[in-house]
């Protein structure tokens, strides 16, 4: 099988060639430790400064509010554990949702064991958190609300601005995991009243192993990784200069013509959504029909199981996913699909198609061509089909 179609951009993306190019000088030539005093290391210091500006710009933050991390998982851990620790005198209650990424959920579960109280808000059938539920959950002891901007599995985009306004009004800090949103949809930390925000490089055609945490000026956040004086003493460890430069470049590229790019992705996305609905019986679109990421399609197909579907698609050269890639170590059906109310067997038979940089109409047509017969084949195999 020669043809390869990559439809799993929510799991990870190819590093943009211009990003790789931007990184290259920092491996063998300008390799110095940015903390050093000699001139050649100053080049790296400047490179980090301008990457910080590039990152800040796309989310309308100040460069001094950007801290580089090893990825969004670290950023999520840092934000949540850090706030929990720094504000524990104020309270011990955290509000999140049932459909967050595991980087947030498992961190919250960890904090529960440490004596914190966590409310996991439900979402509706489209994956949307209701602001009344959030209001009702707030207590005097609430110190942090952490709700993702856009869901990695079903693509649902939350009304983050509304959540932020409520949090601000109540004097509660608001963190959002914006990994899937940044670079795809407009993000403005000021307009949206966001206090902390997590970013991941490899989700927006940047390198793996780098991310950032935005921390609004004035927010007290203790260090999570202790060590040298890097990142204004808030994150130790020699800076990953090539990674940081790559993230900066990726953010810059993502920001250019974002609207036009989103528009063309939405056209492809909607062609897929409509095409599948038309060609495959017994299917159901997961996620919100409109409040949805430009690149996300997620369908459940009754009577069949996801892994088999993925393998068959893979044999046709199509890379897609079923639930999030990070959870594929686990056998449980996706907590997000269960969170929107799908029964186990239906959650099991889900397919996530996420578009990206190189996705074309041809790719979409190809998927629409091969998918129906694959689904049919698996249904013929299924003991549930005729039941």
């Amino acid at each position: 099988m020669e043809k390869r179609v990559y439809f799993d951009h929510a799991a990870t993306t190819p590093t943009h060639p211009e990003v790789v190019e931007a990184m290259m000088p920092y491996f063998t030539q300008s390799f110095g430790n940015p903390s050093s005093i000699y001139e050649i290391a100053q080049i790296n210091k400047k490179a980090i400064d301008s990457a910080r500006e590039q990152v800040a710009k796309l989310i309308h933050a100040d460069p001094m509010e950007i801290y580089f991390t090893s990825g969004a998982t670290e950023a999520d851990n840092w934000a949540i554990k850090g706030i929990a620790e720094s504000y524990k005198k104020k309270g011990n209650h955290i509000i999140t949702t049932t459909t967050e990424h595991h980087a947030v959920l498992h961190t919250c579960e960890y904090l529960e064991k440490q004596g914190y109280e966590v409310t996991y808000l439900p979402v509706d059938e489209y994956g949307v958190v209701h602001i009344e539920d959030l209001k009702a959950a707030i207590k005097d002891t609430t110190i942090l609300i952490t709700i993702m901007m856009a869901n990695n599995e079903i693509g649902t985009v939350q009304s983050v601005g509304e959540i932020g306004a409520l949090a601000r009004e109540k004097g509660i800090l608001f963190h959002t995991d914006a990994v899937q949103a940044v670079g795809q949809i407009p993000v403005d930390v000021k307009d949206m009243h966001i206090d902390l925000l997590s970013i991941s490089g490899h989700k927006l055609n940047g390198p793996k192993g780098i991310g950032a945490l935005y921390v609004k000026k004035g927010v007290r956040l203790k260090a999570f990784i202790h060590g040298g004086a890097q990142e204004r003493r808030r994150r130790g460890g020699t800076e990953n200069v090539p990674g940081i430069v790559g993230l900066g470049k990726a953010m810059e590229i993502a920001g250019s013509h974002m609207e036009a790019k989103a528009k063309s992705l939405i056209a492809l996305r909607d062609k897929l959504i409509d095409g599948i609905k038309e060609k495959v019986p017994y299917c159901k679109l997961n996620g919100h029909p409109e409040q949805r990421l430009p690149n996300n399609v997620n369908y459940s197909f009754e009577f069949i199981e996801g892994e088999s579907l993925l393998i068959m698609l893979d044999m046709k050269g199509i890379s897609a996913s079923s639930g999030s890639a990070c959870t594929s170590g686990s056998l449980d059906p996706s907590h997000v699909l269960l969170g929107i109310g799908l029964p186990h067997e239906i959650a099991h038979g889900s397919l996530r198609i996420t578009l990206g940089m190189h996705s074309s109409e041809e790719d979409v047509d190809y998927l629409l061509e091969v998918l129906p017969s694959i689904v049919q084949r698996l249904r013929d195999m299924s003991p549930l089909y005729e039941d």
Binding site: F303, E307, S308, I311, H348, M381, S382, P383
Partner: protein
């Protein structure tokens, strides 16, 4: 991730489908992942004359169903009962650690089908126990605490 043998059985499953007039039918579900397998049997003179399967499950589940039907076809019930999930895994040139549990489905579905046959025909099969509702884990591998 999967061996060539697994992929072969997954892509071209042997004995897939329903068996009309089956003498015994067994359906089991996997407690760990929720997947389901059904085995249909035709038995004559204590020999498994025909066997087919239907599976709602992962690649490993499909492949183990397929090879399991191959392994038992033509065997006496006695010999068929000796086929463990380890034998099935071996016949597939191995399965990833996390997928060993899938191979239990085949073993249990076969036993369930034989039990159904024995009940319907008033026969007692030595060493055969009534099927469990769910197929559980026998061994826990590498269960690292995560925190």
């Amino acid at each position: 991730m999967y061996t060539k043998k697994v992929m072969d059985h997954f892509t071209n499953p042997r004995n897939m489908g329903e068996l009309q007039d089956a003498d015994g039918v067994g359906t089991v579900g996997n407690a760990k992942c929720g997947d389901i397998m059904r085995i249909y049997l035709k038995v004559e003179d204590e020999v498994i004359k025909d066997v087919t399967f239907k599976t709602f499950g992962c690649g490993a589940a499909v492949a183990t169903s397929s090879i399991a039907t191959e392994l038992v076809k033509g065997k006496t019930i006695r010999d068929a009962l000796k086929i463990t999930n380890d034998a099935v895994v071996e016949a597939l040139d191995g399965l990833p650690k996390a997928k060993i549990h899938c191979s239990l489905l085949a073993e249990e579905a076969l036993h369930a089908a034989l039990w159904d046959y024995s009940q319907k025909h008033g026969i007692e099969i030595e060493g055969l126990e009534p099927p469990k509702e769910d197929v559980g884990e026998h061994h826990h591998e590498d269960a690292l605490e995560e925190a």
